[in-house]
Symmetry: C2
Subunit: 314 residues, 2 copies
Amino acid sequence: MSGLIGLDWGTSSLRSYRFGPDGTILERCARPWGIQHLPEGGYEAAFRGVAGEWLQQWPDAPVIAGGMVGSRQGWREVPYVECPADPLEIARGMVALETALGTAHLVPGLLQRGAFPDVMRGEEVQIVGALAGDPSLAAHSLMVLPGTHCKWATIRDGKVTGFTTYLTGELFAMLRDHSIIGRPARDAAPGSAAAFDKDAFLRGVQTARDSGSRGIAGLLFTTRSLFLLGELPVGQTLDYLSGLLVGEELRCVLAGGGDIQAAALVLIGDATLCERHRLALAAYGIDNVRVANETGPAGLWRIAEAAGLVTRSA
Amino acid sequence: MSGLIGLDWGTSSLRSYRFGPDGTILERCARPWGIQHLPEGGYEAAFRGVAGEWLQQWPDAPVIAGGMVGSRQGWREVPYVECPADPLEIARGMVALETALGTAHLVPGLLQRGAFPDVMRGEEVQIVGALAGDPSLAAHSLMVLPGTHCKWATIRDGKVTGFTTYLTGELFAMLRDHSIIGRPARDAAPGSAAAFDKDAFLRGVQTARDSGSRGIAGLLFTTRSLFLLGELPVGQTLDYLSGLLVGEELRCVLAGGGDIQAAALVLIGDATLCERHRLALAAYGIDNVRVANETGPAGLWRIAEAAGLVTRSA
């Protein structure tokens, strides 16, 4: 009755979960020890810090770890699994890493080949978790994971058949922190984050939407010119910019045709980011959207189950 | 026979020119004293540094200064002149600033009103110079000024009738210096600039072009995924990215319809940047492009002439 220890080990943070034998989370821990911010002692020390005591008490508990820990810059590189892929194929791609605390099974990322290849590492765990939480999504769904690198993944017959990465979050952070269009907000309130201005955000979304096939390349600078002319208060500049970028992401997805209207649409991840996408989708007339927060732990459990590391017992 | 002293005073650099009575440049000077990098003693000291000796020798020479020196963050804010505007209207908008070295006439920027307003400050001098250098452009032309903030300006009947700013150069610099897709090149050769890889650049341009109405929002990340899969050498990543961004700028311009095919097209400014735009335009089938380098000095002279500060004498 040892349950499972799961790690969600990304670039900037490390989260650990102790699951009971029925798959419920009994304990959790989080540290800012992403693979680019390891503590003294490196991976081994970080692992011990978030799971060492659990492993002392339950030394037979299997350990599974997903995220950038399996990247080329991580603890051990785990080759990507190619799409289409289901939880069993992901489980088969795991690499067993021997550590001072025992074996850790590292989850592989996903790879989409083709003229425009794409990769993900970490999001596949959240996707599997969302599928585990709502089996009706397996037949046909679009899963959207907003963030630094927003992923749009298509699910058919229980498999991730393909996906596209949008740099939306990273572009926003760069423009906010380094560009001339982020400067007024930086000067006005250095380091602070203003409350979300929904109207400014939607103004940006609508501007991107109404650009038709042009897109926002020639509109980004309006963040500055509208501000200079007194038509956009400094406190609205960043949410307007955010709306332009999220709106452009949706414009691009919709311009590609595809199955956004046919498939069940699910927003996965941080509630604040999901809400922005939900608002933007509504501005495009897409209202039938589900939201699934924190699906990572369920994904770790489901992959461990597929690998035979755990068997759910009541 | 005092000629003219002209200053091109931007964000990061300060250039001065001493013109003879016939408008030719007799002496020039350049310092890294843009308005964000002033020397000790501020504007006055910088002015003295690049033109003080000339003014001692020719105290009657009028002084004209264009660029960000007339911005809100500059020496004295000069209100924008609204489009449509010709050299005479720009000249009428100048502000006479009294300094310890005498009067300096600061050139106004241009403003385009409307739902998507836009502004420029400094480029209007280059545009006037290009018009002075080739009067055939006055009837109908599109002037493209590549750079951090690339401007596309429409000229009709000798007036700047409207323009659009593209953040192409700033986006490139941010993605190169701060994003995950610029990281491999940063790690490979920190601080260095590789030779221009034309094939990689054109691959990026073609990828943007062939995206149709989608645009590059979902393609920027291919810079990373192609690299990770070994399909884009690290030495090509930045030129591919540059191609994506310049290609997206052109895609956006062309998607907007407009008169790109009807008007005379002129690339103005830095020869290296103009060459990239020329290559990208050719990839879109647009070959009939003129290039005009360093039109700023002629623009300063022309505006001074329109203002009656100088009269050209043979």
